[in-house]
Subunit: 300 residues, 2 copies
DNA sequence: CGGGCACTTGAGGTGCGTCAAGGATTGTGG
DNA sequence: CCACAATCCTTGACGCACCTCAAGTGCCCG
């Protein structure tokens, strides 16, 4: 079940440009990934850094989500209510007003939430699953700018159109709001804006860190940093970083780190052969020498 | 005067790591750059994109700043008051309260505003000059994450320490506020937070664009995109994009685009030889084929 | 069991980094 | 006014990290 994702973004075929890197031709399909499976299901949330999600305060359960999987979503059963945007509404009536605006949306792995350039009519809160944000060049080259995890907010930019695309990496659940209605709420709930502001700041810091990675780190350092992000996110949720699940495909990782699939694969292999990582299948790392990874990542 | 900047960030020498790119050894010095000079002085503000500044509404003057250069700064003479943060204070007493908190700081080219890890006691508004934001790896590799221009806000991230360093590219003037005091103002002036939120969002969108550039564009595309950023910023200030000044050094450009000095220089040369650009000295472009640049940049 | 997809691995090419040298500009001090 | 030192920029030769192309393996699912 760790192969729980696939790619759906379309890459425009581009007849004959010259000195530009590979423009992949990619198939388009939707694939329903069965949820459930064994317990390392927890992995689905395991990302961190530019990979946004709720941090800390993962009260109670050890990371395994015992949520309604039947598509019947209610806010009072919501897994992320304690720390998502919703947590701003302390009072009963405040929350009621908030809840009245929400529309629940379920997405299958690979489905698009919105595309770059779409009018930004809605904003979302991720309550289950994982979303990837990406930007494309006209010839199809893709840069993934981040992964969103439960508790993360989607659509921050209060602009007329989305400046990036968003797709479900795995089956996901989103709470949808009209941008205009959310703005109304700002008037009565200044804490809401405060909360969004903090989130934007966190994203900004993460984005700067990612620029450093993209512009100045080697492939090995990028992979090491990425794995540490995954591990840190697990720690932030009070989960054990081992075994470490890598829910996204090699292609997603490559597009996130500014590499190619082959390079990602090769670096993983080299880390495995040098004893830093032990794999159990391509998307599950059962052992990792985090000290070695930190040296490799040149953190700081 | 277009060589109006230098580098001051320290690059740690790192005895013997192996497969890591060049770790430059850089001198440390402060250099006072005489302001004034001829009129293409306007160039000092010429940046855009991740290069933040005030956009639009550059009422009146054609870009040449007729500001008090005598260090005696008063808010009511401030060049950016109309569109900087200060503009949220409509009322006389509101602004008075705001002004009472400000402390004016003048920086010479190359001087540090703060370094990564410093406690974020202050935030700033840029009223004159240009600031570069950067992050360093332990071995000295640097990534410039953005340039700040008049009207831009510095220190957005309401975190305990700055997550990046900031240095003056040219002689600059900043308005300094205590973070704690600014937060107080939030209570009485919700528009202030709104404004900062919008700014953070703009930066975020720019950061994502820059990630696309860093992760997926070729050297030529990066340079072309960069020049278009410069030109767009000029346009946003109602200035003619030609002649186009490039106030930062090749090293700054390289560290901004994830390249080396030599590559930056070579690409400029190639663009010059192919007739896309015409230079008058290394930091002034007197003619540019913007259509060609847009093709090269793969904008989209 | 067969086709599709993700992943891996190898062989070879290249864009850009590295190393090195030289030119242009500016500021400094005699 | 002229060495000079210090930067910054440019250019060439070369090498390598990563990309490209291609073939093969394993897994999943129909």
């Amino acid at each position: 079940m760790l192969y729980a994702n696939n790619t759906t973004y379309k890459r425009h075929h581009n007849a004959g440009s010259s000195d530009v890197p590979r423009k992949p031709s990619t198939s388009t399909k939707h694939q329903h990934t069965p949820m459930g499976g064994q317990d390392n299901d927890t992995a689905r949330k395991g990302v961190g850094g530019l990979l946004h999600g709720a941090h800390g305060h993962y009260a109670g359960d050890d990371g395994r989500a015992a949520r309604p999987k039947n598509g019947h979503h209610e806010c009072d059963q919501c897994a992320v209510r304690q720390y998502a945007l919703c947590s701003v509404f302390k009072s009963q009536e405040g929350f009621a007003r908030f809840e009245s605006l929400v529309r629940h949306k379920h997405l299958h792995a690979g489905q698009s939430v919105f595309e770059e350039g779409d009018p930004s009519e809605y904003v979302y809160n991720v309550s289950e699953g994982a979303i990837r944000l990406y930007k494309l060049l006209p010839d199809g080259r893709r840069q993934i700018t981040g992964f969103l995890l439960p508790g993360a907010f989607l659509g921050l930019a209060l602009r007329e159109t989305y400046s990036y695309g968003a797709e479900a990496v795995t089956d996901s659940h989103l709470c949808q709001f009209r941008t205009s209605e959310l703005k109304q709420l700002f008037l009565d709930f200044p804490e809401l804006r405060q909360r969004l502001y903090e989130m934007a700041n966190d994203e900004l810091a993460a984005a700067q860190e990612q620029m450093l990675l993209l512009g100045r780190k080697t492939a090995k350092e990028k992979i090491a940093s990425f794995l540490l992000q995954l591990a840190d996110h697990a720690l932030n949720q009070n989960r054990d970083p081992l075994p470490l699940a890598v829910p996204m495909t090699r292609e997603d990782i490559a597009d996130y780190l500014g590499l190619t699939v082959e390079t990602v694969s090769r670096v993983f292999s080299r880390l495995r052969k040098s004893g830093v990582l032990t794999f159990s299948g391509p998307s599950l790392i059962v052992d990792a020498d985090f000290d070695a990874l930190e040296d490799l990542a040149e953190e700081g």
